[in-house]
């Protein structure tokens, strides 16, 4: 056990902090720091800026055009992006990329990898279905093989950014034999395929991020299968692993905590009573403490050998990460005070350039609370994570 950063990592950290700080466009930075929703072009612009330096795909190895960073370097890169007010990276970059690199055919790699770094190709993930949330393996969107094509019928739901995407990777049912997991196939498709319809779902905070996607006789060539028919669950599990660091939500929690500190300073200047602010100050301290520990848990997870039973698993990260996202977004709402009663959804969504009644900062407070109510639901509910942790740990502990 050696708890110090190597000198190479220190040098990398100093370099990347300096570079990233000079690269983030001011307008994007402002929206990021105000917790406004970014526009599609904001994400694309930032990815293109990163791409120039070869940093658009931090998790990709050099052979596929990635920077080939170590896990610790990725952590340091993400920290630098946070500090500079950069947008968070679209998770799918680090998800579909490694999947194709690991399981894809040469043709799939050749065709799909180049469009990912700049988000020229924007991918969405077709997993959940109306009847299959926590119990994902029960999914029923059916792909029936006809010659060299699959005909897909069914429905996906909670599909993030389906309306911005031109590609989708999805799980479909290709067999009813055996355990439900055994009849699932991982499939790629383009969003303009006839028979595919996207319907927006608006969230509690008025945002439009997720969608329903309907499949009516959608026809996809068999070469769009990744790994092989009925092998989809294996790919899905690999992806879950790739999501590990993303799932910790460190960057988002830090962003909100930074926002909370800024708001606290503004309220102090505005003359809010110190008895009120002291309570917030304590809450900020406690969240900051837990968040620091959470970052160290992330590093421990990153450092762990894949087969080490004693290492904390991704479920810990998800659980603590959710707890932090929920708490810090709640803190923001409380900090917002009466001003949080007013809400201009259009200003928050970046659809208009006008300033909402009490400014962008206060406009974001209650909305952020609403937005992060999703954190205990996405990527496996809190209940599912606790089930997993119990299963993973109880016997090992009982044996000690």
């Amino acid at each position: 056990m050696d708890l110090t950063l190597s000198s190479a990592d220190i040098a990398f950290r100093d370099m990347i902090r300096g570079e990233i700080a000079s690269m983030v466009p001011e307008d994007i930075k402002t929206r990021v720091e105000n917790l406004q929703h970014l526009r599609k072009e904001d994400y694309m612009r930032w990815q293109s800026i990163l791409d120039v330096r070869g940093w658009a795909t931090p998790a990709w190895p050099v052979e596929f055009g990635g920077p080939g960073w170590s896990p610790m370097q990725r952590v340091l890169f993400e920290e630098a992006c946070f500090m500079a007010g950069a947008p968070r990276q679209i998770p799918h970059i680090n998800m579909i990329g490694p999947v194709l690199q690991t399981f894809g055919t040469e043709d799939q790699k050749h065709r799909y990898l180049p469009g990912i770094p700049t988000l020229r190709d924007w991918w969405c993930q077709g997993y959940s279905e109306p009847g299959s949330g926590s119990d994902l393996a029960s999914l029923r969107t059916k792909a029936v093989r006809h010659g060299d094509r699959y005909i897909i019928n069914g429905q996906k739901i909670w599909t993030t950014w389906a309306h911005w995407s031109n590609h989708m990777f999805c799980l479909v049912r290709t067999s009813d034999a055996g355990r439900p997991q055994e009849g699932i196939t991982f499939l790629l498709l383009t969003m303009d395929t006839p028979g595919l319809t996207v319907r927006p779902i608006h969230s509690l905070d008025g945002a439009h991020d997720v969608n329903e996607v309907f499949f009516e006789d959608v026809s996809v060539p068999v070469e769009n299968v990744v790994l092989g028919e009925n092998q989809g669950w294996k790919v899905a599990k690999f992806l879950l692993n790739a999501e590990r660091t993303e799932i910790a939500g460190v960057g988002q929690s830090k962003r909100m905590l930074q926002f909370a500190r800024r708001l606290l300073a503004e309220l102090t200047n505005a003359g809010v009573s110190s008895s009120r602010l002291d309570v917030f100050r304590s809450r900020i301290a406690r969240i900051a403490i837990d968040l620091k520990a959470h970052e160290w848990t992330l590093m421990r997870v990153i450092d762990a050998k894949p087969d080490d039973p004693k290492a904390p698993s991704a479920s810990f990260l998800k659980l603590c990460g959710t707890d932090l996202l929920e708490r810090v977004s709640t803190l923001l709402m409380d900090l917002g005070g009466p001003a949080g009663l007013a809400y201009d959804v259009d200003a928050r969504n970046g659809n208009v350039d006008g300033t909402p009644p009490y400014g962008h900062v206060l406009n974001g407070t209650a909305a952020t609370y609403f937005e992060y109510r999703k954190s205990g639901l996405v990527g496996g509910t809190t209940e599912i994570q606790k089930n997993i942790i119990y299963r993973e740990t109880v016997s090992r502990w009982a044996a000690q």
């Binding site: 926590s134 029960s138 779902i201 008025g206 007013a342 809400y343 639901l377």
Partner: protein, 372 residues
């Protein structure tokens, strides 16, 4: 003491529930701001026909003379269908303010109009948007050419966009007091502000506007104002109970109908326990609200303040836990705008932030009870 509804109370609740369930009564969160305030006026006129406007006005003032318990029951019934506004302001706050006023003239001039729904008075008190404080006021009332004129700016005036008059807190030579201002007259600017759930608050700017008043003799004013707001606060606590009822009911049926892993999700113990916590928190909020309703009748202002603040903070805190439980037990559908639950959630947060949040009321409770 007795917690069962009397026959009269049962009949009142049934009437209001029937009204609230009708589509016309429901507030639409998608209405544009202007239309929203027209909706509110319309809804209030319908409520007036039900007799709700004069419910709390004393019999000596020509009203029905019912008490805080009934106000809670009515609010709860309205809240259950998201039809509460503007009962709390027009049916509780305004009549209480006029009844508590020491100015016989103003009471006589306006109370009948209020009871008949013609006069809709909104309280314009807040100046800071960062912290609720009834008494932090810089708006001035001065005598100019024998007339009282008021100048200042008021924020987040609840139901402000539908008011015919504003009760304005302002400082005159003798200190803080309240003045009545007609909404439509030169120098008054009303800017509707869209709320979390599409409620209609307003910013009110007054530039040398003619006013009537003051409503209170010095010294009497502060407690009269606070007391009227306390009445309205208990009424929105009642509304919150209605919201919680509905959130719990939606969650209960979802638990019984939604299936995952081959069985109803309500068979999972962790979800059962979360539901049990929601129900328990709602019961506790109900107990607190009834306690506060009882305390409104107390002659001891400190008892009233303590119990009202206890209830409001409890309702805010527990209401939030209930909504968070409802979301977690629903999963994705729970945070979907289209689904009914979302409206209850957003309105719950509006209530929490209206007339003092949890932190404000816990501090007020501590202040009042510390010395006891």
């Amino acid at each position: 003491m007795n917690f069962d509804l009397s026959d009269d109370q049962r009949a009142l609740v049934d009437t209001v529930e029937r009204f609230a369930r009708s589509a016309a009564a429901k507030r639409q969160s998608t209405s544009p701001v202007g239309a929203a305030s027209e909706d509110a006026v319309l809804r209030w006129e319908q409520m007036v026909e039900l007799g709700v406007a004069a419910l709390l006005i004393g019999e000596n003032n020509g009203g029905v003379g019912l008490g805080a318990a009934e106000a809670v029951l009515v609010s709860e019934a309205l809240g259950q269908s998201l039809a509460q506004e503007p009962f709390v302001t027009a049916g509780v706050l305004a009549p209480k303010l006029l009844e508590l006023s020491t100015s016989d003239g103003l009471r006589e001039k306006y109370l009948r109009g209020v009871a008949e729904g013609r006069v809709r008075i909104a309280l314009a008190s807040d100046e800071s948007v960062h912290e609720f404080d009834l008494f932090s006021v810089s708006t001035r009332a001065e005598v100019q050419n024998d007339r009282i004129v008021v100048t200042g700016r008021k924020e987040l005036v609840v139901d402000g966009a539908m008011a015919t008059h504003f009760a304005i807190t302002a400082r005159d030579a003798n200190g803080l007091n309240l003045f009545l201002v007609a909404a439509v007259q030169p120098g008054v600017m009303v800017t509707p502000v869209r709320g979390l759930d599409g409620g209609w608050m307003a910013r009110i700017e007054l530039e040398c506007v003619e006013a009537e008043g003051p409503l209170f003799r010095e010294a009497a004013g502060l407690d009269g104002l606070e007391c009227a707001v306390d009445h309205a606060t208990v009424a929105i606590c009642g509304e919150a109970l209605g919201l919680m009822n509905r959130m719990i009911a939606l969650t209960a049926s979802y638990l019984q109908t939604r299936h995952q892993f081959g069985k109803a999700i309500g068979t999972f113990q962790a979800l059962q326990h979360r539901f049990a916590e929601m129900v328990t928190l709602a019961e506790q909020a109900r107990s607190g609200t009834l306690m506060a309703a009882a305390a409104l009748a107390s002659e001891d202002a400190e008892v009233r303040k303590a119990d009202v603040s206890a209830a409001k903070s409890l309702v805010g805190r527990n209401g939030r836990a209930v909504l968070e439980g409802a979301i977690q037990l629903h999963g994705g559908i729970g945070i979907t705008d289209e689904y009914e639950l979302s409206r209850y959630i957003r309105r719950m947060i509006e209530i929490e932030k209206t007339w003092g949040d949890v932190s404000y009321h816990e501090a007020r409770f501590a202040r009042v009870t510390d010395s006891r």
